[in-house]
Amino acid sequence: MVTTTIQSLRDLVADVPDPEIPVLTIEDLGILRDVRSTADGAIEVDITPTYSGCPAMDAIRDDITQRLIDAGHERIRVRLILAPAWTTDWISDDGRRKLTEFGIAPPSGAAPHRSGPVTLTLSVRCPRCGSPDTRELSRFGSTACKALWRCNQCREPFDHFKAL
């Protein structure tokens, strides 16, 4: 049994990378929702999926568990929670900057609200040359959370993290 504060536990797991976008941590993405120790001495970590079918969740769960085991903890529960539903609004400013540097245009604007239709993004800046003159090639990209775009200026295709 190791005595630690909640903050140090959180620090321990916060920089677990997303397996599909390894420049981002689960903290950057807003996937990490809560870390706490329970009355029975276990550590509970709450994570939430970006999409219902996100295949990265199992890997993230294993990585969190491994981090805590390596730090000497034994009783670990990683819980997958669905409510409140994840939104791209939870991606941190730091996360948005890292996405751009990685060549993925971050979600632009706030997530669409439940009653309205899917909102169209007015301007997505090319993460390579910065031009706002871009267009959507396909509404679905290499993973569920991204769409495929192309820059009309530098002609490079790029991924755009969809506002959700």
Partner: protein
């Protein structure tokens, strides 16, 4: 959501099973398009769309096994039930057909799911409400994407129009089943847990008809309608679908992957 927090109510379990089986079977059908779609972008789109449905199915089936008190896992339910135990509507099990028929089904089903989940987010059952809130964002995107294809093909060339219309004609006898009520859903709807499918008919069809109008497509008027999926009555195609879905798990019982 640990199982200790879940109250056992076999009616809720059965309801979750219906919604989960719809998503599972349509995920299986849609996944068949991967590497066969008319263009690479659509391969990715259909793959992602199927993955969303599979994710919804996993949440719903996990909950079904907890709520019905049986303790069955999502895998137990997906791989080790026989045809008559599946509660999906027949629309989702039909072979995908060509790209027009595929888009016809996906569009109508996403339109139905959008209205369903828009209401289920207010369910008195917190797990169902949480699953719905997550899924709603996904199906809004599905509805939008497939609707754009219906318009593009319907209002496209003579050939694309013909095939889009033929696709609609193929699936239409199976659409009414989506909006059928029975004692179970009526009872659960009265308790604020489920959404009565009959209440989804109007709003779903309003959206669908608006798209058909833009796509210059006619709403088919089939001579008869099929149903029975909620009672475990399925089409001939269901057995073949399950054989492919389940054979690996059944050939290697207990295997993990």
């Amino acid at each position: 959501m640990s199982s200790s927090e879940i109250a056992v109510d076999t009616r809720v379990g059965e309801y979750a099973l219906r919604l989960g089986d719809d998503a599972l079977v349509l995920a299986q059908r849609t996944g068949e398009w991967i590497a066969s779609a008319p263009e690479l972008e659509e391969d990715l789109a259909l793959g992602n769309l199927a993955l969303d449905l599979l994710g919804q199915a996993r949440s719903l089936l996990t909950y079904a096994g907890q709520a019905d008190g049986s303790g069955r896992s999502e895998d137990d339910l997906a791989y080790f039930r026989d045809e008559r135990e599946f509660r999906n509507c027949q629309l989702v099990e039909l072979p995908s057909g060509d790209f027009g028929a595929t888009m016809a089904r996906l569009f109508v089903f996403a339109s139905y799911q959008y209205e369903l989940y828009s209401r289920l987010v207010d369910s008195a059952d917190q797990t169902l409400a949480a699953i719905a809130a997550k899924a709603l964002k996904e199906v809004a995107y599905h509805r939008d994407h497939t609707g754009a294809w219906v318009i593009r093909l319907g209002d496209g060339t003579e050939e694309s129009h013909r095939r889009m219309q033929a696709g609609l004609d193929t699936i239409w006898p199976y659409v009414r089943e989506l909006f059928e009520s029975d004692d179970l859903v009526t009872e659960l709807a009265a308790a604020g847990i489920a959404v009565d499918p009959a209440d989804l008919d109007g709003p779903t069809m309003t959206h669908v008809r608006a798209v058909f109008l833009e796509a210059t497509l006619d709403e088919p008027e089939p001579a008869s309608h099929h149903s029975g999926g909620r009672r475990g009555i399925h089409t001939e195609q269901m057995g073949y679908l399950l054989a492919e879905l389940q054979h690996l798990a059944r050939s290697h019982p207990g295997a993990q992957w």
